[in-house]
């Protein structure tokens, strides 16, 4: 970790809604899960929400597919807990209707007829308004019975759509152009707009140190700024340790690896490799150096964004629940609170 980031600023720590986006394949859902665990550490209650119908959270925590309900999926060190919610636009629409209209038992029939899906199809913006509306309800919910006046959830982490769609998803104002200018949904969406554009919300961008994800991250930050949404932190995922001494990287990336020195070193360690294997080691070294070099320039580009940055290491054994807790710890060590 050659350039330790600014870490988790006071500004971000004040947010109650943490939106996590990133290019597909960068580990967005994993990071969202780890962030939820980190925020829950020390006795807090955190809700982890997904909106894309992928059931990524259930897979991450190795549980049954999630229903449209807030269920406890993990406990965090120090008595905290993470609950998970899988928001489905159709269920949210029915729920929304039942707040204002008494549909009785018709809901299920309407769903079976495809009427609910049709209504969300009619105005694609409606889908996003419903999804963000449900998130807002969770963020703003208070629990007067047990913890008078306090919020029910200390924080909400949203596993959001990928960078390519994030601004469209969060730009509820634009989505509302499709919808009625009066009525209950108008009022509700104004509340969503206020929340998303306030200091209570931070949009974090997950990336890996590769060319395309970095470019998408930079583009997304520009779009977020343009829509007056607040970028939070950049979370660099799958950081791998550079193994070569810094001064050897450039020459190795150009293919200049002193094979005889490597052979002599291996011999000193008692290893006598066949010429093919030595050649293979050299080729692996060149590839490693090229990657380290690409990662360096990726970091330089990221630095220009001037955003708080935290990093998570590559987990060579893959991501299981134990790895998630390790990631959460790594986030806390970098100031996540």
């Amino acid at each position: 970790m050659t350039t330790p980031g600014v870490g988790w600023t006071e500004h971000i720590a004040r947010a109650r809604l943490h939106v996590v986006t990133g290019k597909g394949g960068t580990g967005k859902t994993t990071v969202a899960g780890a962030l939820a665990l980190a925020l829950a550490t020390g006795g807090r209650r955190v809700l982890l929400v997904e909106v894309e119908g992928r059931q990524g959270i259930a897979q991450l925590f190795d549980t049954q597919p999630l229903p449209y309900a807030e269920l406890r999926i993990a406990s965090a060190p120090g008595g905290g807990e993470v609950r998970a919610l899988h928001v489905d636009a159709e269920a949210a629409l029915l729920e929304y209707f039942s707040m204002f209209y008494n549909l009785g038992f018709a809901g299920r029939t309407l769903r079976r007829m495809g009427a609910i899906e049709f209504a969300t199809t009619l105005a694609p913006g409606l889908r996003d308004v419903l999804l963000t509306g449900k998130v807002k309800e969770c963020v703003g919910r208070t629990d007067s019975a047990q913890r008078a006046g306090r919020y029910y959830y200390d924080a909400v982490v949203l596993d959001a759509p990928p960078t390519g769609r994030i601004v469209k998803f969060l730009d509820v104002t634009r989505a509302m152009v499709d919808l009625a200018k009066v009525g209950p949904i108008k009022g509700q969406s104004e509340g969503v707009v206020r929340l998303l554009h306030s200091g209570d919300t931070a949009v974090h961008l997950v990336t890996v140190l590769e060319e395309m994800p970095i470019r998408e991250t930079i583009d997304a930050v520009g779009e977020l700024d343009g829509a007056e949404l607040r970028p939070g932190a950049v979370i660099v995922n799958r950081v791998r340790p550079p193994r070569l001494p810094a001064r050897s990287v450039t020459s190795a990336a150009d293919g200049r690896v002193d094979a005889s020195r490597v052979r002599a070193g291996l011999a000193a360690a008692g290893l006598d490799l066949a010429p093919d294997d030595l050649e293979g080691l050299v080729a692996e070294t060149v590839e490693h150096a090229i990657r380290v070099q690409a990662e360096r320039s990726a970091r330089e580009q990221l630095a220009e964004l001037d955003l708080p940055t935290v990093e998570l290491p590559e987990s060579t054994d893959g991501v299981d629940i134990a790895a998630l807790y390790e990631f959460a710890e790594a986030l806390i060590d970098q100031g996540v609170r």
Partner: protein, 373 residues
Amino acid sequence: MSALDVDRLIDDPDTHVIVCCGSGGVGKTTTAAAIAVRAAERGRKTVVLTIDPARRLAQSLGLRSLGNTPKQVDVDGFEPAGELSAMMLDMRRTFDDMVLAHAGEERAKEVLANPFYKTISTSFSGTQEYMAMEKLGQLAAEGRWDLIVVDTPPSRSALDFLDAPQRMSSALDGRMIKLLTGPARAGGWGVRKVVGAGFMLFARAVSTIVGGQLLADASAFVQAFDGMFGGFRERARRTYELLRSGGTAFLVIAAPEPDALREASYFVERLSAESMPLAGLVVNRTHPVLAALSGPSALAAADRLEKSGDAPLAAAVLRLHADRVAVAQRERRLVARFTKAHPGVSVVRVPAMPSDVHDLAGLRGIGEKLSGA
């Protein structure tokens, strides 16, 4: 597990369509481009249909902008035995063209000007998938090429493009909109009896939420669209049949990651359920071990060298080799899990290139790896 032989696939004159599918970010577009380049150089008259390619990849095929018709690839150093054309899908224009082709001039004008059409043709989820299939149908009907390589849209799910025409059909089907705009009149088919007052309330609620204007636009759109609808459905059905025919081969693309391989599994199962011809799985960006030295031996030797401090370069080389062994083992485990569940599916692994591919040489390199060279 058998090895996937891409050369046999592209050399077979009976292969007319290759569909590259898989979840987002696994290198579908690059794989499609590499296959097309290789097929052209091996003598096929090839066209590649790409969806939203990275700018530099597009440039490597000589594509500068969205063009809704294929252009012959004309870049330095490319003189294929066959030929290669390439295009990027312009979904709005494909939709417009479809409307123009199916409706009379009057009616087409009416549809194209409808605000609801603008929504459907640009932001309905599934439009891109549907239009990709429509374009594939058009290219096949033209008969100018003997091999069409198709990239699929970066969907949430690899299955989206199979379902898109159906979803689109139900969205544009007139029944629901008639119910919503005039449930009393449409009550004839008994729906009202089933849901009764609930539906009336629902219809009123929808109208309150989306606004009367939108419903009116949607209704006008569906009416204007009604006459064309049969044609649309017929085309979607023909494309679906084309996908099921023997001349089509599906390549499922994945990265050696659990999510991508899980998605690949779903896709393989779905293809088999639909009797669609699967050619095999391409696992992109693998990290094969290049030297026969076990991870533990490399680490033990690195420890010894670091203690003495004599040979920092060799110690670093040993550590990075051990990292690579660990990554390769994990990738092998993941692919093995897939092949255990789908023993009949042939697989080819394409090692990660040290840097992004964005020129012809890079695409050729990938083509060689795809054919096991």
